[in-house]
Amino acid sequence: MADLSEGGVARPSRTGALLLASAFVVATCGLIYELLAGTLASYLLGDSVTQFSIIIGTYLFAMGMGSWCSRYVRKNELVTFVRVEVLIAAIGGCSAALLFLLFDRVQDFRLPLYGLVLAIGFLVGLEIPLLMRILKDRLEFSDLVSKVLTFDYVGALAASLLFPLLLVPHLGLIRTGFLFGLFNVGVAIAVILMLPQRRRMTIELVVAILVAIVLAAGFVASEKIERTAEVAAYGDPIIYADATPYQRIVITKRANDLRLFLNGNLQFSSRDEYRYHEALVHPVLSRVANPRDVLVLGGGDGLAVREILKYPGVRSVTLVDLDPAMTTLFRKSSMLVALNHGSLLSPKVHVITADAFSWLRTNRTKFDAVLVDFPDPTNFAIGKLYTISFYRELARALNPGAMISVQSTSPLVAPKAYWTVATTLEAAGLTTRGYHVYVPSFGEWGFVLASNGPIGAPGALPAGLRFLTPRVDTLAFFFPPDMARRPTPVNRLDNQALVREFDAEWSVFEG
């Protein structure tokens, strides 16, 4: 057993080797944490050159501060080394998980990001000088510097090769963080155990073991963490993220695929959204004799409006959306304006920022067609927008012969929830017909057509549609047995049957 205390007889071969190996581990882990932070920042905040550059700069600066501060450690270098090692393990190991979890829960993500980078850099910077001082009695100075720095740089190489080739593709960011935290704390535990019994740092050992347990638990639970921190689950690079008072808006882009997520739920993929929006709009508008005034509830992305404006007879489109951030985004961003053909900038379009239910209760205008494009009923607040009380208010806003289309989740995944929407519309006194289309990024998707009059065959469709034809329209109303109509309750404010069914059916589907 080596004894590192003053006056003890050390066996440099073993202890020295361990400490040099720890230089390697410390360097590797340090760089891994830096790479994690950089990758995470460019993934979440976009603009990877800026992110990496700032992270590297911050990290190196913090290391410098740490090195400088090492002078204030006057004695017990080994104890400090072990403590710092445990601290790095805890902070660095959890950093990726922590940053993902914090991303959409904090006002300014940069604060925790750079805070963590500074902390880790500082601690790593503190460590190398400490290590050199611990080893100074065991090695020649020139030998010491050359060995420590060699291990340090070799560690850096190992990290920078492992990270992109092995770790990110196979382990993912969160798990990589926990794994290297375990290496860090492993070094600390090994050093403590190398010490003779009477010099054991009991408290440090207990803390180190606790940290190891937490990190191991995090490693095992990393998939669950990933699901909780939904931003970690986006497959594609995030080019825009904003937490508004109403929802979390995320836009990702890979090649020509632009995707919008609200609260982690996919709203559209630019590759196939035309299928969804043509199916939402045209079965309704083509069945109204001469649609002039159209109401859109939800749909702040302007994609449904784009389809509506294909009818030259439409003189006004009223769009009611909750979140001004959405409608502003889809009016200002050139990439998004290209997608919705600048529909929200049309003089025919009136954007109203309001809660749809309250707005509808006070509304006195009547419409020829209404497109209801709310998010899926994933919580009770949204569930209210699918109730009989809501549809009664909606029915009051219809001109004779007006048509409504309601996006109604997947009739394949959640047939009971889907048909609940139809049952509820009927209970509000409307005639309904269900239809569905295939949207690759969503799967089989359902809508319910409703009217205060009979629902007939479609009229003429505008030119230039990519998906909907009269034949496709006809087929969309046919339901195979696995999606066929079934008896359902009426969704009311006081029973929220839809939210409960939706949750039951989708959780079976998603496991």
Binding site: P245, D355, A356, A381, K384, T387, R492, D494, N495, Q496
Partner: protein
Amino acid sequence: MPTRRTVIAGSIAGAAAIGAGAIALAPHDETIPGTLSGADFRRGHRLRGGNFPEPSETVRTRVAIVGGGVAGLAAAWTLADAGVQDFRLLELEDRTGGNARSGRNDVSAYPLGAHYLPLPNAEAKGVIHLLEQLGIITGWQGDKPVYDSYQLVSDPEERLLYLGKWQEGLVPQKGLSEVDVHDLKAFFAAMKAYEGRRDAQGRPAFAIPMELSSRDPDLLALDKLSFAQWLDQQGWHSSVLRAHVRYACRDDYGTEPDQVSAWAGVHYFASRRGHAANADPDTMLTWPEGNGHLVGRMAARLKDHFDCGRIIHRVARTDKGAQIDALDVASGRGIRVEADAVVLATPHFVSARLTADAPSATGFDYAPWVVAAVTVDRVPAGPGFEVAWDNVSWTSRSLGYVVDTHQSLDRVPRATVLSWYLPLSDLAPADARRELLERPLDYWQDMVRDDLLRTNPDLKGAIRRIDVWRWGHAMIRPVPGYFWDGRREAAAAPRPPLFFAHSDLSGLSLFEEAQYRGIRAAEDTMTHLSIPYRSVLT
């Protein structure tokens, strides 16, 4: 197997621990804005001292109603419905409404007491009639009323923080022992049986109004026992069942189960048979201001008849009718009211002081409560089930909180007011009332804040203000014997031209009971005065 004693001992230990925790947790530097108010006890307590000025003015009215709570308002409503114009309603406070009073700030209206009305049973004809008049019942499908859907409590109604997680409903569903599962099942089956039971005359075993309940001897015999004793007799010792029952007794009666008559205990679980064409049978009506909505709408029609700020100190029969002596708080002058008949819509302990015609108030015991309106920047969250209307923590001394903006249709997350309820049932009523008088605002605020943050740590930093409301005599305590040993009936018996109207006379502090007593007293008054009317009770 835990017995009642161990459960109660546990809860006292829990309360003590919470108290100790509160001291340790309370930061001393921050003060939370808020007010300390309540029923005006200074005016009420003047009755004890006597020494009122001689009347310097006499006014005449045909019917005088003393007390502007639900019973008094219902009496006035009934008179107005019958076309009686000449009546006055005298109220001690500056506002009518009694236990159903409410407050309002820039975030929301909030109840100060009663906060909901269960769907009325078919026999609660007075309530159904009122709800039709107010447009809350919008029509009928067969024998089932159709309710205005915006006034039915929105789903989800209730959630319970149990073993660190919120679950739906108020009865724990997970983490139960075999005994718990068995006893809960047996208990609720027994309650279901009572709920469906009718006697030979077709009366329900437990009715609302309670006056219409069956008089079968085995049912009345329940009144001789406490609810805890009755549960012991059944052999149901499950700690989960006993704690749930304790919650129920404190919730409706402000009283511990070993002090609640078993008749009242079963009544709580077996009397609700309200149904609707457009709602589940066991649901409720609610408003941001609670039952303040109902009394507010009643007062809007009747307000020209109100004389508020009147301390009534004597009610006596005369050869021509009745005489009321009052102090007008504003002017300090004595006023005499002469009336052909008087409806005393005051709690019985007050009525007994006002008139020699009322029997003694011995055996009439009242539960003190604290209600807090907590304004918060965001709606509470927490692990597990989403926030509900009523949110209860299994381990809290309080009954939890109601989200007063629950009925809002908006998706926008925003500030809200939480109504926090605490019956001081773990103290003797007199000691609790002393606490209410002596403790300063910050004592109650700290209690409310610590309790709320323990239940919802997510509200840390979000509490904007805490307004505390004290009820010294919030409700009658339905102790064993209260219902059927004669004292209640004696207090309820009319002494023309004096007619008594208060939920005390039912022993259940419920809107339905107070309203029933008010209607009955008004109808008896009109019979006595030979005023034609059409009864809404038959």
